[in-house]
């Protein structure tokens, strides 16, 4: 009897909500019939039957959240002992293929270590929020308070966002301020930059930063350089945002990390948050900043939850790093999704008695090298971690800066862990090899400690 499994409906989907059954037990089902609706990390999708026969069993009740990919959800065919709809949601079953999906994206989901953030006053109430919700909340708050702010990009409106970042915003702000564009990055980026020259404050969403390469001339030659070329007259208050870097199994053209590219340009600011609190606070700061800000997000982080301070106007200043975990033996510097490797490695090392301090850069340009140097002066050893290509990279820059400013404090050369110097492969095992890993960070830390 054919069993219907919870389908994977996006490259990064690991689980989803079974929102609705459209067939009842006993109904005849033909191939192509829509039998259920599933809410993924990106959208609400319909599940179609592939087999023919009566729907004999519903294994997961409508409304069940966090159903793992490949969990059996229903049975089609003559049942010997048909049961009614499951009264309660059964424990999601981790099916073997689900493990493979997780394997494909070797993301170590470390529970964020609870560290008192010096920026957050003690006793501040916190709310749990995903990075996705944090970015949406930041944009919505800024749009409510400033009528010159608008969001423009592909599928930001009626589709509700390719990654659901702008979900619901069209309803609140209308199509004058949530603007769906044709697939034409070069053109709509130029239009947004022109609107910024005229004094508006556009938020440009790239479906991914890989597509922004089509528009990079407008980002660099127009947005970044015009203030200087105009002797300070023609500023450009604009945010370029969207998912950046590797997602999962989307291969070379959809997996590049652009942090180093944009950070090379005077006139641009580049931020790359890891936590939801930083995503929200930095997004609000980016929208208010009178300069062009490249805001690099990560598809895999969108669904991760973090504590966000419940304050009226949560702002994280651009250009300020954060001590994410205090320690004394070795400094690990990272940013964005690289922080997942840093945290996982620090946990493993702690079990071996090695106490690492983790610095989350949060902003790549301008880089808060002072906070890094202060840490290195204390630990005398440093490992820099990023997912991007290793050559001419953010970690190359970090190593150079640390050598310049903390040479006398180093007891070992600065070590780097980055993506491999190859285009991103598709095969799951090769992809895993191309990305950094917590084990590589562990090895690097042991290397600089000579243990």
């Amino acid at each position: 009897m054919p069993t219907i499994l919870m389908p994977a409906l996006s490259p990064t989907m690991e689980e989803g909500k079974l929102s609705k059954w459209l067939k009842n037990v006993g109904d005849a089902v033909k191939p192509g019939d829509v039998i259920a609706e599933i809410e993924t990390d990106k959208a609400t999708m319909e599940v179609e039957a592939v087999d023919e026969g009566p729907l004999s069993e519903i294994l997961i009740a409508a409304g069940t959240e966090n159903v793992k990919v490949n969990t059996p959800i229903a049975v089609i065919g003559e049942a010997s002992a048909a049961k009614g709809p499951a009264a309660a949601a059964p424990e999601p079953v981790a099916a073997p293929v689900a493990a493979a999906v997780t394997d494909a994206a070797p993301i170590i989901v470390a529970t964020p270590v609870a560290v008192a953030d010096p920026d957050i006053p003690a006793g501040t109430e916190m709310v749990t929020m995903t990075v996705r919700e944090a970015i949406r909340a930041a944009m919505s708050e800024e749009m409510r308070s400033d009528p010159d702010v608008f969001l423009i990009g592909e599928e930001v409106g009626q589709y509700q966002g390719a990654y659901k970042i702008s979900q619901g915003m069209l309803d609140e702000f209308g199509d004058k301020r949530i603007i769906d564009t044709p697939i034409t990055e070069h053109g709509f980026t130029g239009i947004a930059v022109g609107a910024a020259f005229a004094g508006l404050k556009p938020i440009v969403e790239f479906m991914t930063f890989n597509f922004a390469m089509q528009a990079i001339d407008q980002i660099i030659n127009s947005a970044a350089k015009t203030l200087y070329m105009s002797g300070g007259q023609m500023g450009c208050s604009i945010v370029f945002r969207g998912p950046n870097g590797a997602a999962a199994r989307v291969a070379a053209q959809h997996s590049q990390d652009y942090a180093a590219w944009y950070s090379q340009i005077p006139g641009l600011k580049v931020v790359m948050p890891y936590t939801a609190a930083d995503a929200k606070g930095l997004m609000k700061a980016a929208i208010r900043d009178p300069n062009p800000v490249v805001f690099l997000e990560n598809e895999i982080l969108y669904g991760k939850s973090f504590d966000v301070p419940k304050v009226d106007d949560w702002i994280v200043p651009i250009g300020k790093a954060r001590v994410a975990r205090p320690g004394v033996d070795c400094t690990i510097v990272s940013f964005g999704i690289g922080m997942t490797y840093a945290h996982a490695a620090a946990d493993k090392l702690a079990a071996e008695g090695i106490d690492c301090e983790i610095i989350d850069l949060r902003t790549i340009r301008p880089m808060d090298i002072g906070t890094v140097v202060e840490s290195v002066k204390k630990t005398n050893r440093c490992v820099c971690v990023e997912e991007g290509f290793p050559r001419f990279s953010v970690t190359s820059e970090l190593a150079a800066e640390i050598m310049t400013h903390a040479f006398d404090y180093l007891d070992a050369p600065v070590a780097r862990v980055a993506g491999k110097d190859v285009p991103m492969p598709y095969a799951s095992n090769l992809e895993k090899l191309a990305l950094p890993s917590a084990d590589e960070v562990v090895a690097a830390v042991k290397g600089v400690l000579y243990v």
């Binding site: 709509f188 005229a198 002797g231 300070g232």
Partner: protein
């Protein structure tokens, strides 16, 4: 509705309707184009300022006082002057790197523009932009862009801001026959049309993209405005050597944009007498071709002849204007050659606006 003239009727070209060897259409041929004496004089004065300014810039370049690239507008003066005659306060202008004429037509200070060409501290961009990169928020001039075609979506963005704010301003977005082959121009046409942006795309067709004739580089080169048809954007081909024809077409285009009908294309048939830049060997066209344009279609000579013929101005009146213009240009050149270089500390300013 295209305005045809002798210049448009280039020998052997399809669609030629103008009279051969004519001196351009008479004022009575043009709807709304009977210039008043004041308009005729102002057009003469504004075009002459550009001509004399550019001649001086060429001279300073030759003396080594202006560096880098320097693209002169000589021959094309009627285009921007005629367009600006149809502008209202707040209308934006944006163009490519052949931009000195546009700045002067927008009312920017000739001394500031010339001092920018010489890279001095009193330049419009404090000496940090040069010939191709000057801007004035006050005069609604948005550059001055060195990347061919990049100003086209930027100009549509200015129009987008007008529509967003609900005002009646229009963005006058200039580009050349060379930029007409950039993909972003057509990405922009598409969005300008679907969003009904108040944008006039002014194609300054001077026949040569650097050294490549439009006929060698461009499909259906005889009518670049036709490319708007696929996007539902109305277009006109205009005798860009005749300031009255330009003003006449600009009136129709601005009215169309201001009434919320969306973008409009004006293809200005024009000609530059000088090379693409100062370092142009000019091997791609004959001296005779240039000479013929100067003799038969010069935009300033056309106005001058009309003024004298109609007795709206005497030779002495025009000489007086010429003298005033020469003084303005001389003062600009003096300032631009005597103003000090920027202070070294300027290297590090204007990279970011302080948040």
């Amino acid at each position: 509705m295209a305005v045809k003239s002798a210049y448009l009727a280039r020998k052997g070209e399809k669609g030629s309707k103008g009279e051969k060897g004519g001196k351009g259409p008479k004022a009575t041929d043009l709807k709304n184009s009977g210039f008043s004496a004041e308009e005729e004089i102002n057009a003469y004065r504004d075009m002459l300022l550009i001509r004399r300014f550019e001649e001086k810039a060429g001279q300073l370049y030759g003396m080594g006082l202006i560096g880098g690239f320097c693209h002169l507008y000589i021959g094309q003066e009627a285009v921007v002057v005629g367009m600006q005659m149809a502008a209202q306060e707040g209308d934006q202008v944006i163009t490519s790197y052949r931009d000195h004429g546009h700045m002067l037509a927008c009312g920017m200070d000739p001394a500031g523009v010339m001092a920018e060409l010489t890279g001095r501290r009193g330049g419009i961009s404090k000496g940090k932009g040069g010939s191709m990169h000057m801007f004035s928020r006050e005069k609604h001039f948005y550059g001055g862009h060195g990347i061919v075609g990049a100003q086209v979506p930027l100009g549509a963005g200015l129009a987008f801001a007008n529509r967003y704010r609900g005002n009646t301003n229009v963005s006058m977005t200039y580009y050349g026959d060379g930029a007409a082959n950039q993909g972003q121009v057509y990405e922009t046409f598409n969005m300008a049309s679907i969003w009904k942006l108040p944008c006039i795309f002014v194609i300054e067709n001077n026949r040569y993209a650097m050294g490549t004739a439009a006929t060698r580089s461009t499909a259906v080169a005889e009518e670049l405005g036709k490319r708007g048809e696929a996007f539902g954007i109305p277009a006109e081909q205009v005798d860009g050597m005749d300031v009255r024809a330009v003003k006449d077409a600009a009136d129709r285009a601005t009215e169309h944009c201001r009434s919320g009908e969306g973008p409009y294309i004006l293809e200005m048939m024009t000609y530059r007498y000088r090379g693409h830049s100062m370092s142009d060997p000019a091997k791609y066209r004959s001296k005779e071709e240039v000479q013929k344009m100067r003799e038969e279609h010069d935009p300033i000579e056309q106005v001058k002849a009309r003024l004298l013929k109609s007795n709206r101005a005497s030779e002495d009146d025009l000489k007086k204007i010429d003298g005033e213009i020469r003084d303005v240009v001389t003062r600009a050149a003096d300032f631009a050659t005597n103003d000090p270089l920027p202070d070294a500390s300027e290297l590090w300013t204007d990279i970011y606006v302080n948040a």
